[in-house]
Structure formats: structure tokens, C-alpha cells
């Protein structure tokens, strides 16, 4: 074990033990580790943004390209300036321009991706699941595919019904009733079962990932101690 490995291994060992000390409740060592983590992350992020984004994509082109080409960089430069000026209370309104630009662009990209990357392909997949050619694609147990397709359809419809928030309209009295239509109530009850199973699976996955992280940390601690006791072997 080299000196560098010993030092950084020791730091990692101490920080791991400090985080695990939360087992006995919130304490100084746990808070110290948490603050250290937050502070280091923030500092690293600032350096990363300056070094990997601002410098290569803004400062270098401004310095090396012609002024006609660099003119395009005036737009992000202006947006940055407005965002910085918004920190002054009297000029807080200026920050809404870059934020509006950012939110609008994000929404446009995200909505486009959601529609063409999730909604349409998933609906098409659900429709294709009822293609008889798909059922008999595999030679054995075609009924299993039929059941699988039916379950997918029921799951999709009932889950969407659970998130339906319409109200009943009583035509004869021309008034809205607070409760949903009866059929939607029944479908949403079934949808709750599918949502529960999905969330259960996600919960189990979170547990599994956390458990693996803990196993990795224990293995690291034992390896470090074994390395110290074994004289760096």
C-alpha cells in the first residue's frame, strides 16, 4: 500500500465510519461528513462549470475567433449578465428573461421527447401487443403472450383512469357533481393495484441498490483494515 493509497484510504475509512455513526443517532461526526460532502460538491461543481463549460465554450471562442463569429456569443453573455444582475434586489426583474428562455427551451425539448420518445412509442407497443402475429411469434405458450397483452392493456387503462380528475355532469339538472362516474371509480380502484405493484418494485430496487452500496463500503473497510494489519499486502 503506497503512501497516497494509505492517506486517501484513511480519509475514505474515516468518512465511512462517520456516516455509519448515524446508527446511534444524529451526531457531530455525521454532520461533519455531510457538510464536508456538500461543500466539496459545491466547490467541485463551480470549478467544473468554469473549467469545462465557460472556458472552452465561451472564453476561448471569444479570444480566438473573429469578432463576427464571436458576435453570436453575445447572446449567452447577455443572458449570463442579466442573471447575475438579478441578484441585485432593484434589478431582480431582469432575471426573468434568461429564466424564461431556459424554462421555455427545456419545456420544448422535454415535451417533444416525451411525446415522440415515450407516449407514441408506448401506445404503439400496446397496440402491437394484440397483433396475432406477435402472439404466435414464439412457438411455445402463445396464451401467455395473450394474457400478458391483456394485462398490459388493463394496467394502462386502469392506471390512466386513476389519474382522471373529471367530474360527473348531471344533464337534467345542469349541475356538476363532485364524484367521478361510477365506471371510472371502479377502474381507478383496479389501477391502484397496478400502481402499488409498480411502486413496490421500485421500492425493492431502491433497497437493493442501497444494500449493495453498504456491502461495497463494508468490503472497503475490511480491505483497508486488512491492508493495514497485513502491512500493505
Amino acid at each position: 500500500m503506497s503512501l497516497s493509497e494509505l492517506i486517501w484510504g484513511g480519509v475514505g475509512f474515516l468518512l465511512t465510519v462517520m456516516v455509519l455513526s448515524y446508527l446511534i443517532g444524529d451526531n457531530f461526526f455525521f454532520r461533519l461528513a455531510a457538510h464536508l460532502f456538500i461543500g466539496l460538491t459545491a466547490g467541485y461543481l463551480v470549478v467544473l462549470i468554469v473549467h469545462h463549460i465557460l472556458y472552452p465554450y465561451l472564453i476561448t471562442p471569444l479570444a480566438t475567433h473573429s469578432w463576427m463569429e464571436a458576435l453570436w456569443l453575445g447572446i449567452p453573455l447577455l443572458l449570463i449578465l442579466l442573471l447575475v444582475l438579478s441578484q441585485i434586489p432593484k434589478l431582480a426583474g431582469l432575471g426573468s428573461i434568461p429564466l424564461a428562455f431556459l424554462v421555455g427551451l427545456t419545456a420544448a425539448v422535454a415535451i417533444g421527447g416525451a411525446v415522440f420518445g415515450t407516449l407514441i412509442p408506448q401506445v404503439r407497443s400496446l397496440i402491437d401487443a394484440f397483433d396475432p402475429a406477435f402472439w404466435y411469434q414464439a412457438a411455445e405458450r402463445p396464451w401467455l403472450r395473450i394474457v400478458d397483452s391483456a394485462l398490459m392493456l388493463v394496467g394502462a387503462v386502469t392506471t390512466l383512469s386513476f389519474f382522471h380528475f373529471g367530474r360527473k355532469w348531471r344533464v337534467d339538472k345542469k349541475e356538476q357533481v363532485v364524484e367521478r362516474p361510477r365506471i371510472l371509480e371502479i377502474l381507478s380502484k383496479v389501477g391502484q393495484i397496478f400502481i402499488g405493484i409498480t411502486l413496490g418494485a421500485v421500492f425493492a430496487g431502491v433497497f437493493s441498490s442501497a444494500l449493495l452500496a453498504l456491502i461495497d463500503r463494508i468490503a472497503f473497510i475490511v480491505d483497508f483494515i486488512a491492508g493495514l494489519v497485513g502491512g500493505g499486502g
Partner: protein
């Protein structure tokens, strides 16, 4: 309505053309309303109902009362709300009258009288003489009235004291609230007066207890505080309450009260049945508040602390022993899923000198899990002369990529181009999927960063620890570059939500979590990284399930206990 003579001020009837006193012409004189004094509105002399019932106000109210009595003949008591103008002497020139309400003729007369002493007419002299006489008579009457009023007050006070004294002696035990408070003090009512502490010794005593002391008649007035002393010194001779000097002939003359006179005089106590009921309730509350209660020690807090520590140590021990004792187990069969097989097939079939895009979308906490899953896949996929492009949508992505490639130990030579960190994953995914900056960019925009492969990518591999992070990349790449095979290497927590993308064909293949990684490792027969952790992983899952079940049982019991406590 009357007509007032502009020359002498005499009152004449409305029809008179000349003054009946001086004979002056009354033509053109505007009639005035009758000068009869207004009746006071109130019937009772409610002196103590005033906001600030100090002695000067009391005397003023009494003065008004007497003036009304003098004018009206019949004794009527003014209320605090009755206007002062209603009892004002009409002959008093110096009274604070409203200038607008004074008739023009009267102003002229007054002005003339002030400017020319000799010009005072006979009537004016008579008025002044009558006024002086009236003042002296009134002073005498006022003194008599004050004296009789004070005598009446003293008589009432003596009567109340006698009644209270008789009541106190005859029915001393009937004062329940008094005896309760005395009992709360730990003394019997009979012996209460003997060893009663002074008011200074009893810290936190309530107003009720002070009233009790006053009722017993043995409580000395409380000395003035420093602030009160300051106030008295500052306002001495200015606005302090004044007293009536009985030696002075002029009853309205006042002089400041001395400090001794300012000392607090305990009020006389008369308690109605309603007040006594309230006092009884207050006394019961005081007794209840001062009653000693057993100290409740929080018993569950240390238990929770110990339980947490014990369970944590059991979990760590349970994970540690399988990790280092008994060697690596053989991985079970049947762990490989269809989506895993699809990914393995793609990794094996990737040709040499291909261009791969690797997206690092996981944080350092999940690095070990991603490394366990991704390492065998990358070893299969990276061939001789591969061009690998790295993109990170987490700040630590570049560092984690370096670590992963450092552990890869691939024998083939390959080229890595790191595009670094994309702060907004959606923009990064959109930019990458739409061809990057170099191809579709506007002509005059400077080329930013490194150019993307001109022929596009032969495959994309997303390494992610969250559903949302992977979803952004899947949506953009599958919609903008549907022909490029997209593969996922994700953690167990992201896997279940991403599976529909494999079902729909948007994702070519995927591996998630340790169990699927175990299947891949077994299929590839490559290393024991997963196998060494497999038994520990299973033990940990067993412990977690047991803790969840036990916790659910205890939690249900706690809820039941809380409900029962609430019902009680």
C-alpha cells in the same frame, strides 16, 4: 326665539321693534334661539365609569353637576358624556366658547369693554357685579356640596366596612375560595395570619392571593418600584394627581400630591357570587398546577437508540461474514433475462473500429453497482480500434468514467473522447441526438468543443442510476436516432420503470441490478466480482425483509396503542 338688543344685550320678544330696556331700535336684528340651559342627558352620576377616574376629573364632574343643580333648581346628575357647553355659565366672558357661536353684538360689547374701561355701560357693570356675587355664592355652595359629598362617601365606606367585618366574622368559613387558596399555601385559615409571609417573600403570587392578603387586612401597601419612583420625581408638580385643600377657600385651587399620598391604597373588596365562582375556579387551577406530579421519564427514546444500533450491527455483521468467509459461491442458473441476453448479443456482435457513445448518468454512491454490471459488458463491447465518446450528465461523471475505464483492464487499444459534463441532460441528449454542433450548426457560429463522429455512432450505452436520467436520453435518442441500437446498464432502482422501453423496442437491451449482473457474469464466465458479493447480498435482503416485517408488526401495535390512548 328672542331678539337681543345690540346695544344693551337685553332679551326682547320676537315682535318687539324697540328694546324694552334701553329703547334702541331692533329693526334688522336677527332673532336668536332662546338661551335656556340644556338639560343634561344622563340621570346618574356615574363617576367611576369614566376612563380615568382620578380626583380632578371627579371634581370637574361634580362641579358640572352643581352648576346644573343651581341653574335648574332640580338636582340632576350629569353623565360623563354630557357636553360641557350644556352647563356653562352664559355670563362667563372668559369661558372657552366657540368663537363662531358668539353673536356679533356680543363680540362688539366685549371688545368695547376690554378697550375702554369707562365705556362699560351700566348694564355691563350690573352684569359683572352680578357675576362676582354669583361666583362667591357658588364657591360657598360648592364647598358645602363637596363636604356633604365626601361625608356621604365616607359614610358609605364605613357601612361597607362594617358589613364586610360582620360577614368576615360570622361566616369566615363560607369563603371557600379564600380557604382553598390558604390551603394551597399549606396553612389553615385560622393560622394563616400568624405566619403569613410578606408580599416580597412570595414570588409568583397571583393577584388573587394579594386580594386575599388585602381582605385579611394585614398586607402592607407595596412600595413603589424604581420606574414608579422615577415617574413621580419627573412629574412632581406638573401633572401629578392633585388633592383638594380643605384649608383653601378656593376649592378649585390644587397642589401636587406628595409621594406618601401617591402610595397605593388597597381598594375595598366586594365579591359577587359570580366573581366568587370564578375565584373558586382559579384557586382550583392554582392548586392543580402546583400539585406535585411524578416525573415521566422518556422510556422509548433510549430503546429506539439501542434498537437501531443493535439492528445496524446485526446487518453489518450479517453482510460481513458471507463476504469474507467461505469463498465465492457458484451463481445460480436462470438469472439471465431476455433483455440481458439481447444486450450480451449486441456486445458480442459489435464489430471492431466502431464508434460508441457512453453516457454517464450516475452518481458516486452507485458507482460500485454500475461497475459490477457494466464491466463485463464493456469488456465484451470494446474491440480493437474502437472510438469511444464519453458524455456526463452528472458532475462527477467524468471522474467515474476514468475510474471505470481504469478498472476495465481491456486488452484492446481504443480511443476515448470525453465531452465532459452537460449541466442540463435534456439539452445534451438533444444536441447529441440531433448531430451535435459541428454538422447542423449555423455557419457563423464558432465550433464548440470537439467534433462528433462524422458517420454517427454504431451504438449507445447509457449507464444510469435513476429512471428520470435514463428516460431523458432514451426519449431523445430513440426519437431522433431510432436506427442506432440503444442499450442500458442501470441500477436496480431504475430497472423496473425502464423495462417498458425494452418491451416497446426502443431499447435494444438492458441489465439492471446485481441479480441480472450475476446472470451476465455466469453467462460470460468472467471473474468473481458479483459472485463474492452474491451471498452477502442475499443475506442482506433476508435481514431487510425480516426488519420490515417486524417493523410493520410493531408499528401496527404502536398505532393500536396510540388509538387506545386517544380513546381513553
Amino acid at each position: 326665539m328672542i331678539v337681543i338688543c345690540p346695544e344693551c344685550g337685553a332679551e326682547n320678544s320676537l315682535t318687539a321693534e324697540v328694546c324694552q330696556e334701553c329703547g334702541a331700535s331692533l329693526l334688522g336684528v336677527i332673532p336668536s334661539p332662546s338661551s335656556e340651559p340644556l338639560e343634561p342627558e344622563g340621570d346618574d352620576l356615574d363617576l367611576f365609569a369614566q376612563d380615568d377616574p382620578d380626583l380632578p376629573d371627579l371634581l370637574n364632574a361634580l362641579k358640572q353637576y352643581e352648576e346644573v343643580s343651581d341653574d335648574g333648581g332640580e338636582e340632576q346628575e350629569p353623565t360623563p358624556d354630557s357636553p360641557k357647553e350644556s352647563v356653562k355659565n352664559p355670563l362667563d366672558f372668559n369661558a372657552g366658547e366657540d368663537e363662531d357661536s358668539i353673536p356679533e353684538w356680543l363680540k362688539r360689547i366685549r371688545k368695547r369693554a376690554h378697550e375702554e374701561k369707562d365705556a362699560i355701560g351700566e348694564i355691563t357693570r350690573k352684569i359683572n357685579t352680578a357675576q362676582e356675587r354669583l361666583e362667591s355664592e357658588k364657591n360657598g355652595n360648592k364647598r358645602k356640596q363637596y363636604e356633604s359629598y365626601l361625608q356621604r362617601l365616607r359614610g358609605q365606606k364605613r357601612g361597607i366596612e362594617e358589613q364586610l367585618g360582620e360577614h368576615h366574622e360570622s361566616s369566615k368559613d363560607d369563603l371557600d375560595w379564600l380557604s382553598k387558596i390558604k390551603k394551597a399555601e399549606g396553612k389553615h385559615s385560622d393560622t394563616y395570619q400568624e405566619d403569613q409571609p410578606s408580599i416580597d417573600e412570595r414570588q409568583g403570587d397571583s393577584l388573587l392571593q394579594w386580594l386575599v392578603a388585602v381582605e385579611n387586612g394585614d398586607e402592607a401597601p407595596e412600595p413603589l418600584s424604581e420606574m414608579e419612583e422615577e415617574f413621580v420625581e419627573r412629574h412632581r408638580g406638573e401633572t401629578l394627581p392633585t388633592r383638594i385643600s380643605s384649608q383653601e377657600p378656593d376649592l378649585e385651587s390644587t397642589q401636587p400630591m406628595s409621594r406618601d399620598e401617591l402610595e397605593f391604597k388597597p381598594p375595598e373588596l366586594s365579591i359577587s357570587s359570580e366573581e366568587q365562582a370564578q375565584a373558586d375556579q382559579l384557586a382550583a387551577t392554582i392548586v392543580d398546577e402546583r400539585a406535585s406530579r411524578p416525573d415521566r421519564q422518556p422510556k422509548r427514546a433510549p430503546l429506539k437508540w439501542v434498537m437501531r444500533l443493535v439492528l445496524g450491527l446485526i446487518l453489518i455483521a450479517g453482510l460481513s461474514f458471507p463476504l469474507f468467509i467461505g469463498g465465492a459461491p457458484t451463481l445460480p442458473q436462470g438469472l439471465l433475462q431476455p433483455q440481458n441476453e439481447a444486450l450480451l448479443y449486441w456486445a458480442r456482435e459489435v464489430p471492431a473500429e466502431t464508434s460508441l457513445l457512453l453516457v454517464f448518468d450516475y452518481s458516486a454512491g452507485y458507482a460500485s453497482e454500475i461497475a459490477l454490471v457494466a464491466r463485463p459488458i464493456l469488456k465484451e463491447a470494446i474491440k480493437q480500434g474502437s472510438a469511444i465518446t464519453l458524455v456526463s450528465s452528472t458532475p462527477s461523471g467524468s471522474l467515474l468514467a476514468k475510474r471505470l475505464f481504469g478498472e476495465l483492464d481491456a486488452s484492446a487499444a481504443y480511443k476515448v473522447t470525453d465531452y465532459g459534463y452537460f449541466p442540463v441532460a435534456a439539452y445534451g441528449a438533444y444536441g447529441m441526438a440531433s448531430g451535435g454542433f459541428s454538422e447542423d450548426a449555423l455557419l457563423d457560429v464558432p465550433e464548440m468543443g470537439k467534433p462528433l463522429p462524422s458517420d454517427g455512432f454504431d451504438g449507445v450505452l447509457i449507464l444510469s442510476d435513476s429512471f428520470e436520467g435514463a428516460q431523458v436520453w432514451i426519449e431523445q435518442i430513440s426519437s431522433l436516432m431510432p436506427e442506432i441500437p440503444l442499450n442500458l446498464v442501470v441500477t436496480a432502482q431504475a430497472g423496473p420503470m425502464l423495462l417498458p422501453y425494452w418491451e416497446s423496442g426502443q431499447v435494444n437491451g438492458m441489465v439492471s441490478g446485481l441479480s441480472e449482473a450475476a446472470g451476465v457474469e455466469r453467462a460470460l464466465s468472467d471473474g468473481e466480482s458479483v459472485a463474492t458479493r452474491w451471498r452477502s447480498y442475499q443475506t442482506g435482503l433476508l435481514i431487510l425483509i425480516a426488519v420490515l416485517v417486524i417493523g410493520a408488526i410493531f408499528n401496527t401495535d404502536t398505532r393500536g396503542a396510540d388509538r387506545r390512548r386517544g380513546e381513553e
